[in-house]
């Protein structure tokens, strides 16, 4: 037994206890469970919206990317900052309409704006397909983190199952409240741990950050630039742009926006959130240190944990593990709450329109263990490296962007047929290209070579927009009369 183990157990117990305790004093109807009764203040909303920065993706993925691809990893620093620029205008607009209409899920938005429950079903499908791998990612990350930081005492599979059970338990009880409470502990812990190891490790091995960069450059002269053809500037720019557009299209981000008690919070947060991103800089330092100290790992996602184990005593390793644990559990709770809400509200209630709010709330809670089991199954069936999964999810939710933005207009030229077919075409293209590992150059060889490695989300998004516009034009008259009848039937319900 080593010093890391009790620390890990202590923090896991703390996370579960806080998650369960978060329920106290609340009457858990669906609105309370899914979006915190729209009562969260500035700090919690800040932490929930910043949550994206500190997931296991940051911890393992960003360092792993720096370890493997050097300068290309810097894209991760950019897209969040740009997304927060959008958020200044986008988030208050989303919040206002959602509060007025009492929306609890992202598909609700499309259902109301486009007056189409079938469109909401399409959005649910896209959202769940994107979120389940993202949840799986958190569980896989959790398993790796616990196995490595417990020095193998707790095997990966046991950590994943335990984590999944704890997560599902407190989400069933407390919903989004469990994420809110744990987010506070998580960000304090991660901030301290990441800044510490990001500074300590380069100093420990090389005597400074500058010296570390010099060593990296001596080993591989172009490593700190965009140097590989597959990760050229075209790839870099389009990956940033797509991730920035997709950022607020994640269904659990909609949930976080809905949970705020006012709209000003988002504008105020937009000033500070970009700076908060800079913590990632220290993660890059760790990944680059690992590139020098523990080279040759087949799985780059292990680089942070390996170099931490190599350079630090077990007690510190335990704290790093604890921080990583929270990085998996908090986004995990958001993802579970959101996907369960979507399945209950936008699928179950569609099939059984007579269901009472109480029944819908109950189904949402029942969906939590079901989704957890699916994610666990996928976790053990094995998957791609962490960044690839996230990129696929991002590309998926980004397909919601065009019709989401258009729905903010007073007179939206896009109708439900255009919105739905655009999304589906975009999602299918992105899935085919990603799963088949095609590049833009493979499918569009006539393009200049500088464009061959654009993010595959770009052709998908363009096709999405074209289809969306064309279908909206073709179905304009038909949909005008159908929308009328749809709104009549909505009114009747």
């Amino acid at each position: 037994m080593n010093a890391a183990l009790p620390i890990l157990i202590l923090f896991f117990a703390l996370a579960v206890a806080l998650g369960l305790y978060a329920r106290r004093g609340k009457d858990m109807d669906l609105e309370q469970w899914s979006v915190g009764g729209r009562g969260f203040g500035s700090i919690i909303v800040f932490l929930l919206l910043a949550g994206e920065i500190y997931t296991t993706f940051t911890f393992l993925g960003a360092s792993g990317y720096a370890y493997k691809y050097g300068g290309a990893s810097f894209y991760i620093l950019c897209y969040g900052a740009l997304a927060y620029v959008f958020s200044y205008w986008l988030a208050p607009a989303i919040w206002r309409y959602a509060s007025k209409e009492k929306l609890v899920s992202q598909p609700d938005w499309f259902s109301k704006k486009y007056k189409s429950r079938n469109l909401a079903l399409v959005v649910t499908l896209i959202g769940v397909i994107a979120m389940v791998p993202y949840l799986q990612l958190q569980l896989t990350g959790l398993g790796i983190i616990i196995e490595e930081t417990s020095y193998g005492t707790i095997p990966r599979s046991a950590a994943i199952v335990l984590g999944g059970v704890g997560l599902a338990a407190y989400v069933v009880i407390s919903g989004i409240h469990s994420a809110a409470w744990n987010a506070v502990i998580k960000d304090i812990l991660v901030l301290i741990v990441v800044v510490f190891i990001g500074l300590y490790l380069p100093f420990h091995y090389f005597g400074g950050i500058g010296a570390m960069f010099a060593e990296v450059q001596a080993k591989s002269p172009t490593f700190l630039m965009l140097h590989e053809p597959s990760h050229d500037t075209g790839w870099f720019i389009t990956s940033i742009l797509l991730s920035a557009l997709g950022f607020f299209m994640w269904p659990h981000y909609f949930g976080a926006i809905y949970s705020s008690k006012d709209a000003k919070t988002f504008r105020r947060n937009a000033m500070f959130l970009p700076l908060y991103q800079l913590v990632l800089l220290f993660v890059f330092f760790v990944g680059l240190t690992a590139y020098l100290v523990v080279p040759g790992l087949a799985n780059g996602d292990l680089s942070l944990l390996r170099v931490v184990r190599d350079g630090l005593p077990p007690a510190v390793v335990g704290l790093v593990g604890a921080a990583g644990l929270f990085c998996a559990l908090v986004p995990g709770a958001m993802l579970l709450t959101t996907s369960a809400t979507m399945l209950a509200k936008n699928v179950y209630q569609e099939i059984r329109p007579a269901a009472t709010d109480k029944q819908v709330g109950l189904v949402a809670k029942l969906m939590v263990p079901v989704i957890t089991l699916i994610a666990l199954y996928l976790t053990f069936k094995g998957g791609a490296a962490i960044v690839n999964l996230l990129l696929l999810g991002y590309a998926f939710v980004t397909q919601l962007f065009p019709s989401m933005i258009m729905s903010l207009l007073h007179r939206n030229p896009v109708n439900k047929w255009g919105a739905g077919s655009g999304m589906v075409v975009g999602a299918v293209i992105v899935a085919v290209l990603t799963i088949g590992a095609y590049t833009v150059g493979d499918v569009l060889p006539f393009l200049p070579s500088a464009l061959h490695h654009l993010n595959v989300g770009v052709p998908a998004l363009l096709a999405n927009i074209v289809v969306c516009v064309l279908v909206s034009l073709v179905t304009r008259d038909r949909s005008a009369s159908m929308q009328e009848s749809a709104s009549r039937s909505t009114a009747a319900v």
């Binding site: 300068g71 620029v85 630039m225 720019i237 105020r268």
Partner: protein, 77 residues
Amino acid sequence: MSEIHAGGNGGRYLRFTLATLPFIGMLVLIPAVNRDEPYVLGLPFLLFWIVLWVALTAACMTIIYWTDPANRAGAEG
């Protein structure tokens, strides 16, 4: 805070321009800054450039916040 900049079209253009700058810095100009020399503040140039623009993004958003009439005391949420 200047009242001229705060409301009206002048203020709106200012905020729009400020919101565009981060996109120019972190997307449009990337091909021009893809190099490691010179090192600035101990960082290779590409990384320094990105860190600088993340900080400038926060600065732009701060100016936008303070000139936007929506954030005045008493303005509707």
